[in-house]
């Protein structure tokens, strides 16, 4: 095989450059997180981890994630089914709209929710009158997180389902299967991995969202602090070890996400070479 750039000198130079740069820009920060977290030893690490505010932040983060992921999972599947299995006027527009959260600065995302549900917002007065608190409380955090993470599942599914086409589903219809049966028995097995990948991405972003959440959370310690907000607060308090302890939890989750992604891709690649 003769390829452009396969002279040993060129190859070696480029590989070394790539390795050095990725070590510097990606690996070093990752190592730094754990180094900082464990700077004062394991005892302090455990102590920081079992701090009541940190535990509360973990709890709130879990709650937000558990509410966000299923909502976006359901929405993503319906939207992907809609735009890949039917043609109708406005289909492209719908696909463009769903990308908005990717383009919008998270702070702007937080802002628009604040404008809608805040004390002076459109719905604020009504909510106030009925004593429902959304902003500066966990429901607001959930809402902005849903906004920020809503494209992930749909974005994974749409290209795949488009490429797969509707032949098999159509065959199922001719065999008399109902809609739910078609989805469960024909479509779902084909999109399982993409769906799982979409969920993993949604999950990672839901856990880690900072900008939008910090606008609507109000950061009341022990009540509206998610883990990323907790990291920020401890950092601002000059409690570096504490901040990085919480950060290390998030970093571990990030590593799990990467591992899950690699595993899924590896399985997909193996299946492809097998056929």
């Amino acid at each position: 095989m003769v390829r452009i750039g396969d002279a040993p000198g060129v190859r070696r130079t480029l590989i070394v450059a790539a390795l050095v740069l990725s070590a510097l820009f990606l690996l070093l920060p990752l190592v730094a997180i754990f180094a900082q977290a464990l700077m004062s030893g394991l005892d302090v690490y455990w102590q920081n981890l079992s701090d009541q505010y940190t535990l509360a932040a973990i709890g709130l983060t879990l709650l937000v994630t558990l509410l966000t992921v299923p909502v976006n999972l359901v929405f993503g599947v319906f939207l992907a089914w809609l735009v890949t299995r039917f043609t109708f006027p406005g289909r492209r527009l719908l696909q463009t709209l769903i990308d908005i959260p990717f383009a919008v600065s998270p702070v702007v995302a937080g802002l628009v929710y604040l404008l809608l549900y805040g004390r002076n917002g459109w719905l604020g007065g009504w909510l106030d009158a009925h004593d429902i608190q959304i902003m500066f409380a966990w429901p607001g955090i959930v809402l902005v997180t849903i906004f920020v993470t809503c494209p992930f599942v749909a974005r994974e599914l749409i290209p795949l389902m488009q490429a797969q086409g509707a032949r098999e589903e159509e065959a199922a219809v001719t065999l008399g299967a109902s809609g739910w049966t078609i989805f469960r028995r024909v479509t779902l097995p084909k999109i399982r991995h993409a769906l799982l990948y979409g969920v993993i991405l949604t999950n990672a972003r839901a856990v880690g969202e900072f900008g939008a959440v910090s606008v609507v959370a109000g950061a009341i310690r022990g009540q509206t602090n998610t883990l990323p907000l907790q990291v920020e607060q401890l950092y601002q308090d000059y409690n570096t070890v504490g901040a990085f302890t919480s950060a290390s939890l998030l970093a571990m989750l990030a590593l799990l996400t990467l591992a899950a992604k690699a595993a899924l891709e590896w399985r997909a690649a193996r299946r492809e070479t097998a056929t």
Binding site: V2, R3, I4, G5, L14, I15, A18, L19, S22, F25, L26, L28, P29, L30, A32, I33, F75, F78, L79, L82, R85, F86, P89, I100, P101, A103, V104, S105, P106, V107, V108, G110, L111, V112, L115, L116, G118, N120, W122, F147, C150, A166, V173, G179, L201, G208, F210, G211, V215, L227, P228, V231, E232, F244, A247, L250, A251, A254, L258, A262
Partner: protein, 284 residues
């Protein structure tokens, strides 16, 4: 119109679930995406034009546009080069640890931005591992626009790598071979043959990285320090105004950020469409 779409569907659509999926999708998009965005328009409509112009041309805000654009442009350019290098090395060469490096490329998307922010701020502060090395050389990164660019670059690394990589993978070996059998040296063949193939993906990836950098918040604020007129990015301006309960000012600036991002996305999409059309037989 919806009623019309639905009834027409009954006659022609083969697969079930059109009404249900349309209903769910439209409801969701309206409630989650459109309604909040309209509230921004509503807030802006309470402002007169001169008030609006005054708010968005405030000198401190203007300075933040400059810093944000400069840092995002530098970050995007860095990523164009770094991303191309990484995509090339990961597709074309074999070396130990390649799978790990490949997985590591997604770290910036998986790692919460606030974590990236505090980590970079710590690493590049004058007492940090990197900052400590660079300070004696007279290079300050934390609390300068360079630090902002660095944080922006970090969070947008995957865009270029992951858009160029699949294109490079799908490039048939014959393209290389044709260039080489015609006697082209590596440099010439790369510039004249391979780069044009990668160009659409490279520009798209760089464009996306730029858009993402413009809006980046969590990763940037810690290393930026937020000195007015110097290291305040536009997202931070909005945040500061919100904390001062200046909703009108925040909304005005946010509208600029939002419009810029959406316009850039539109341009990227249009450009990509035209480029692809030419390669597949449309008139150039």
């Amino acid at each position: 119109m919806i009623a019309k779409i639905l009834t027409r569907g009954h006659q022609r659509r083969v697969l079930p679930g059109f009404g249900l999926s349309l209903g769910v999708s439209l409801t969701f998009v309206s409630l989650v995406l459109l309604l909040p965005l309209t509230s921004l328009v509503g807030q802006l409509s309470t402002l007169s034009l001169s008030q609006y112009v005054f708010l968005i041309t405030d000198p401190r805000v203007m300075a933040s546009y400059g810093v944000t654009l400069l840092a995002a442009a530098v970050a995007a350019l860095f990523n164009a080069v770094f991303g191309l290098l990484m995509a090339w090395v990961l597709v074309r060469y074999e070396f130990p640890g390649k799978r790990l490096v490949d997985a590591l490329m997604d770290l910036p998307f998986a790692l919460p931005t606030a974590v990236a922010g505090v980590t970079l701020a710590t690493l590049y502060s004058s007492s940090g591992w990197m900052g400590g090395l660079l300070a004696p050389l007279g290079i300050d990164i934390a609390y300068t626009w360079v630090g902002i660019a660095l944080a922006m670059a970090f969070t947008s690394i995957p865009f270029v790598v992951r858009t160029v990589q699949p294109v490079l993978e799908d490039l048939p070996a014959e393209v290389d071979e044709a260039a080489v059998t015609l006697g082209a040296a590596d440099g010439h063949a790369f510039r004249r043959v391979l780069l044009p193939y990668l160009w659409p993906a490279l520009v798209t990836g760089t464009g996306l990285a730029f858009v993402r950098s413009l809006g980046e918040f969590g990763a940037v604020i810690f290393i930026a320090g937020g000195k007015p007129y110097e290291t305040e990015i536009t997202s931070l301006m909005i945040f500061v105004k919100l904390q001062e309960y200046d909703y009108a000012g925040a909304s005005a600036v946010a509208s600029i950020v939002l419009a810029t991002s959406l316009m850039l996305l539109l341009i990227i999409n249009l450009w990509q469409g035209r480029f692809i059309k030419r390669l597949h037989g449309g008139r150039p």
